[in-house]
């Protein structure tokens, strides 16, 4: 049986600079997989390649065994892969409910319809309301997304990502910039929403990573230097060296 998400010799260069340098990765169905690595390792770029935001230089990406290389982001999304963003990326002038409703519409089959009244679509409404509740923003249901607190916006970001019911979920630093309690809430949320799905996440907070992930890949200079269970990674010498060696380097890489 094919892996849920598979990367084969994926490469990406911007000009002469190679950011992703031949990544091979296979993620099984139902797995929670974390990608870690120092700044500038190419984690966000990897997500952008998988989700179709950037075109690959060479290589292939397979979703449930089907080649999705070169497809437009929306095509990939419709095939069941959804992603979140490191920098909150929601619809600021729409309410929380509307944000989620927008994210639900395609999956319920309404496409570009201009003959349905959204207010009357019970299935959409029920699904969006369920999501509102799930991400814990019921009190904020009709608040404009732009005026939510940061943590609330992050929750909404996750809500928008999972709304379409995608099988494969990519979360890009879901807890970045959060306080401890906020992080705990976020982790609980992620754990709940990724139940029964394939989850790939980029995360800096090691406690989150080691708490959540079934397997971890370490990306350094555009290459996966190790993949394994948290215990394996923790004990991996090469990872420790590489990781700690560049930890101090704060240079901002291409995300």
């Amino acid at each position: 049986m094919a892996a849920s998400l598979e990367l084969r010799q994926v490469r990406k260069s911007f000009g002469k600079t190679a950011i992703i340098n031949g990544v091979d990765l296979a993620i099984e169905r139902g797995e929670r997989h974390a990608v870690i690595g120092p700044n500038g390792a190419g984690k966000s770029t990897l997500f952008n390649l998988i989700s179709g935001r950037f075109p690959l230089s060479t290589g292939n990406i397979l979703l449930n065994g089907q080649d999705i290389t070169g497809l437009a982001p929306q095509e990939i999304n419709r095939r069941g892969l959804s992603r979140s963003f490191q920098i909150t990326n929601i619809f600021p002038k729409l309410s929380v409910f509307e944000n989620l409703r927008c994210a639900v519409l395609w999956s319920q089959g309404y496409r570009y319809s201009f003959w349905h009244r959204v207010g009357g679509l019970k299935d959409v409404r029920a699904r969006a309301d369920e999501l509102v509740e799930r991400i814990g923003l019921k009190r904020r249901r009709d608040t404009l997304a732009g005026v939510l607190s940061y943590a609330e916006q992050r929750a909404l970001e996750i809500g928008v990502t999972i709304a379409g019911g995608a099988e494969v979920i990519l979360l890009d630093e879901p807890t970045a910039g959060m306080s401890n309690t906020e992080t705990e809430d976020a982790v609980a949320l992620i754990r709940a929403v990724s139940e029964g799905k394939t989850l790939v996440m980029v995360e800096h907070d090691m406690s989150v990573v080691f708490g959540l992930a079934d397997r971890i890949s370490v990306l350094v200079y555009g290459q996966v230097i190790a993949t394994g269970t948290p215990a394996e990674i923790r004990g991996n010498k090469a990872v420790q060296e590489a990781y700690l060696g560049v930890e101090a380097d704060t240079a901002e890489g291409a995300h």
Binding site: P73, Q74, F97, Y112, T161
Partner: protein
């Protein structure tokens, strides 16, 4: 506007009752609003019944459709177009030729359904040009729309057999037999035809905002990048919205043909596109009803103000700049702004400060009008009717220093007063914001 105001509005929005909480009540309210709109449309020509007034009402109806269709782009999908009059104009030209064909007997089609011809033409060109232009958003879209508008405008002069050259295409709307005593000869009958179409189009365009496409258009406006990651193609959404907007613009164009029995190439030029942009913007692109206000106001000012002063273009431009500088959300946003004051029952608290500002504003405005009118009089009218002009029932000699000093004094005093008047307004708003906060605390 002071920060407390923004804050207060934000809080009020957060506090607002859930929009879908009581759908029954919502529907009833909405139905009431539409009934009121219909009543106004029906009653208007009974109140303003002169030939010119009825004609202006007809124009307003056309402008409303046109401005609302424009706002499908700017307000709802975030596309700044400088060429929307292209669809209006092309719809109108096709309608004009169709009307002539009806008159010649080669086409059998009721005049009252002529707007469907305009709609078809507008839609067709919307599909063609939209396919080209909507691949881009932001500034490139704006520039391509301008380029296409320029091209179409240039072509319209090159091909006189279709566009009628300088004189345009003139037609006769009174064709065929009377249907139930209606032949669209009298202006009032034309008005009611336009009003009916206007009503239908308003409802349709409002309904569109409530459909999946309409909601996703808002999402594209806010964040086209994210839309791709929820399964939608923003280009497709822009394309569909532009085509539909073109269709409604075509309806407006066809109605214009019926109203004036004439269509000239200037109606699809960039100036016409600029006007509809003004209407939508001044009315307020952030609200569905904003462009309606803008269409009515601008149509009225264009016709009425020019009767009273030569300087109307200047006033017009100044009005536009003042709106952008101080109320970029348009008139509709000014209305919305006062919602928290109404909810906290503190609107009365604003009355006195506003009255003060109104007085200051009136002084400033008087100074401005005086300076501008004297300037215009001095430059263009002095030789014909002498240096003395009358203004506000007073006589002013435009060659003497006194009146000029007076105008400057009014301007200065008005400006200072307005500054002073701003303070109590700020204080009142702070109070309202505080009340809103208290309300939220409960």
């Amino acid at each position: 506007m002071a920060d407390p105001v923004v804050e207060a509005v934000a809080r009020a929005v957060r506090n607002a009752p859930a929009s879908g909480a009581e759908p029954g009540l919502m529907h009833w309210r909405r139905a009431m609003v539409w009934a009121a709109v219909a009543a106004v449309l029906i009653a208007a020509p009974q109140v303003f019944n002169q030939g010119f007034a009825v004609s202006m009402l007809s124009q307003m109806g056309i402008a409303i459709i046109f401005a609302l269709s424009y706002n499908m782009l700017l307000g709802q999908t975030g596309m700044l177009s400088f060429g929307h009059a292209v669809y209006f104009g092309l719809g109108a030209f096709f309608a004009a030729h169709a009307l002539n064909a009806i008159g010649a007997g080669s086409l059998h089609w009721p005049v009252s359904l002529l707007p469907l011809v305009g709609a078809a033409a507008g839609l067709a060109f919307g599909l063609v040009f939209g396919y080209v232009t909507t691949k881009h958003s932001g500034t490139p879209f704006a520039m391509i729309s301008l380029g296409i508008a320029e091209m179409v405008a240039a072509c319209s002069l090159m091909f006189p057999s279709f566009f009628g050259g300088e004189g345009g295409i003139s037609t006769d709307r009174v064709v065929g037999d009377k249907v139930m005593g209606v032949d669209f000869g009298p202006g009032v009958q034309v008005y009611y035809l336009i009003a009916a179409w206007c009503f239908v189009c308003m409802i349709l365009m409002f309904a569109l905002t409530q459909t999946p496409l309409g909601r996703m258009a808002n999402a594209v406006r806010d964040n086209p990048e994210r839309v791709k990651f929820v399964g939608y193609n923003p280009t497709r959404i822009r394309f569909l919205m532009l085509a539909l907007a073109g269709m409604f613009a075509g309806i407006a164009g066809a109605l214009e043909v019926i109203n004036f029995e004439l269509i000239t190439a200037e109606r699809l030029g960039t100036a016409a596109s600029g006007t509809v942009l003004l209407m939508a913007f001044i009315g307020g692109v952030g609200h569905f009803y904003g462009p309606i206000i803008g269409a009515i106001l601008i149509t009225f000012l264009q016709s009425a103000l020019s009767n009273y002063t030569q300087a109307w273009l200047l006033y017009f431009g100044l009005f536009f700049l003042v709106m952008i500088l101080f109320a970029p959300g348009g008139i509709a946003s000014l209305v919305t702004l006062h919602k928290p004051a109404v909810q906290t029952r503190l609107l009365g608290r604003l009355a006195l400060p506003y009255a003060g500002a109104a007085v200051a504003g009136a002084v400033l405005l008087a100074g401005l009008i005086m300076a501008v009118e004297m300037f215009y009089h001095y430059e263009t009218k002095r030789e014909q009717v002498g240096a003395v002009m009358s203004l506000f029932g007073q006589q002013f000699d435009t060659t003497a220093t006194g009146p000029w000093l007076m105008a400057v004094a009014l301007l200065v005093v008005g400006g200072v007063l307005l500054r002073l008047a701003a303070r109590p307004i700020g204080a009142a708003w702070t109070e309202i914001a505080a009340a809103v906060n208290r309300g939220q605390g409960n």
